[in-house]
């Protein structure tokens, strides 16, 4: 088996990117578990794949498009009642730190 494929710092960074908070316990548990899964993935190293094209999708289809014609839209009453917080017909979110991306 090779060296640890993922460090606790990397797990913490990934959790940040994914908007998840981990306790100390969780951090070490997840580091170990993700490490085991990534280690297992190392067996792919044995394959010669340099000339193999990546395949991101199982279907060979292309060019599926729709016409530029309107279709029925929802009414705010269809979805706003499901929202955690609403004001003036809009979704309310807590204050945003920093500038817009």
């Amino acid at each position: 088996m090779m060296s640890e494929p993922i460090s606790p710092e990397e797990v913490a960074h990934v959790a940040y990117l994914a908007r998840l908070r981990l306790t100390e316990d969780e951090l070490s548990r997840f580091t170990e578990q993700l490490g085991a899964i990534l280690n297992h993935a190392e067996d792919v190293e044995a394959l010669e794949l340099d000339d193999t094209e990546p395949m991101s999708h199982p279907l060979p289809i292309e060019n599926t498009m729709r016409e530029d014609t309107p279709s029925p839209m929802l009414k705010p009453s269809d979805f706003l009642p499901e929202a955690p917080a609403v004001e003036d017909g809009r979704f309310l979110v807590p204050k945003i730190l920093g500038e817009e991306p």
Binding site: Y16, H57, M65, D68, M73, F91, K95, I96, E99
Partner: protein, 475 residues
């Protein structure tokens, strides 16, 4: 270009990213209306709200528009693959944006500026717009807001992002690039291209280097630039900021910065922790686009005449000022101008009227009417003041200049009538006349004004001057 920047042998390097909203009927991935000004969250469906289970389907017209623009920018149109750009932000319903990444629709083209210089185009790809966030609080800005409200009517509106190569070297070039691109977009009729209303949005990648250097230095991406004027100011500010840092032995950090129009400065966008890692990967919910040869050929064949070609035509025909030619093309009045000239309007007069008197639009005015009006003016049947008045009427309610002149009582005044008036004035104001004859041109205006007064402004100014000159030389 601002002298500050040039003075220590610093060179400005700018690349522009221009986002254009496409004027399709519906959004990029769903059949919701692509329309503004409606009540918040009324132009939405499960797809553009990012509801669980919903799936995108591409709008074929948006793709066609993108390919048209690509060809207009001399790009190759390629097999393309949509990709997800992942980051959390509430105006993005899925918390990823569907865009194109390593395989965009359009690659490697160029844009020719009116000056004849060309700026390389790296790519022009298709992506979806975000919703609109309103910041609630005393400041009205994002910082200091108490909370924010999100409206998804704009979410999923089709955009083309046109990315230039970092080949722009002056602020003038940057502005010319954007206005020329705008002209092309308008000629293609794929967007209303209003920068102030956000249907064209420009981000500037700015860096500087010392002249002679080959490598590029760290760049900053400037966002929130809402007019050509602020584009110039923002680039200038940012370039000076970089030079200042380098002179102090520091370096700028690669980051996104926001232009603050009121403060006249750029500001850092986000905290360091937020290192950008968008984790692009192929969008599994969509299939690749692979336009056929025939489609691309059709686009090329149906390509409307673009601004550069149109400017050439007008300039060749008339020899008027290049700035006026550019202006008419920008206003989309060049085809009309050529039509008027073909109908016998004198080119310089036609262009003069279009530039000075018809900036608000042509309304009911026809090419034939303007041609006739210019001819009447030329034969001194009406004065330039009268012509201007008549244009206002023709724009508003149409009609022929001949009938209108009669209706308004703009009958031509006989030359001998004006000669009589001039002679009377010479007798009444002999002192002034002496001064005029001895070369004091200041009193010329006095005589012209008096004749105009006597004729209620209907006399032809050129004719009055001609008579005055005749009288003074024959004296």
């Amino acid at each position: 270009m601002n002298q500050e920047i040039f003075k220590d042998n610093w060179e400005l390097i700018v690349g522009l990213e221009v986002h254009t909203e496409l004027a399709t009927k519906t959004k990029l991935f769903c059949g919701c209306l692509n329309q503004f000004g409606n009540e918040p969250n009324t132009n939405v469906c499960p797809v553009c709200l990012g509801l669980p289970g919903s799936l995108p389907v591409v709008n074929e017209i948006a793709v066609y528009f993108a390919m048209q623009l690509g060809r207009a920018l001399h790009c190759s149109v390629n097999r393309s693959v949509f990709a997800r750009k992942n980051y959390f932000y509430p105006d993005m319903p899925k918390d990823y944006q569907i865009s194109q990444y390593d395989l965009p629709t359009n690659l490697e083209g160029y844009l020719e500026l009116p000056s004849g210089e060309t700026i390389g185009i790296e790519r022009a790809h298709i992506e979806e717009d975000t919703g609109k966030t309103t910041h609630i609080g005393t400041s009205g800005r994002i910082s200091g807001a108490d909370y924010s409200l999100v409206d998804y009517n704009r979410a999923g509106v089709p955009l083309i992002e046109i990315v230039s190569k970092p080949e722009i070297r002056t602020i003038e070039q940057a502005k010319a690039y954007v206005s020329e691109l705008r002209g092309i977009i308008l000629a293609l009729e794929i967007s209303d291209a209003k920068m102030e209303e956000g249907s064209i949005r420009v981000d500037a990648n700015v860096s500087v280097r010392e002249i002679g250097e080959n490598d590029l230095r760290t760049r900053c991406e400037i966002k929130n630039v809402n007019s050509l004027k602020s584009l110039g100011r923002a680039i200038e500010y940012e370039a000076n900021r970089h030079i200042g840092l380098y002179k102090n032995g520091e370096s700028p950090r690669q980051e996104t910065r926001h232009w603050d129009e009121n403060a006249g400065r750029t500001r850092s966008g986000r905290s360091k922790e937020d290192a950008e890692d968008y984790r692009y990967f192929p969008e599994p919910d969509l299939v690749p686009l692979n336009p056929s040869e025939e489609t691309i050929t059709k686009i090329d064949q149906e390509m409307p005449e673009l601004p550069s070609k149109r400017r050439e035509k007008l300039a060749n025909l008339t020899g008027v000022k290049p700035s006026d030619v550019a202006l008419l093309v920008e206003r989309n009045h060049d085809v009309f101008a050529l039509d008027v000239i073909r109908r016998g309007g004198l080119p310089d007069q036609v262009v003069k009227h279009l530039v000075n008197n018809l900036s608000a639009g042509l309304g009911e005015l026809t090419a034939e009417s303007l041609a006739q009006l210019v001819q009447m003016e030329n034969k001194s049947e009406i004065t330039s003041t009268q012509a201007k008045k008549m244009l206002g009427e023709l724009v508003q309610r149409g009609g022929t200049p001949a009938e209108l002149a009669t209706e308004l009582g703009f009958e031509a005044i006989e030359t001998n009538e004006i000669e009589n008036l001039v002679d009377q004035l010479i007798n009444q104001h002999s002192d002034e006349w002496e001064r005029f004859c001895s070369g004091d041109t200041k009193v010329q205006g006095f005589f012209v004004g008096q004749v105009m007064k006597a004729t209620s402004g209907q006399a032809d100014g050129k004719l009055i001057n001609q008579i005055l000159n005749e009288r003074s030389t024959s004296k």
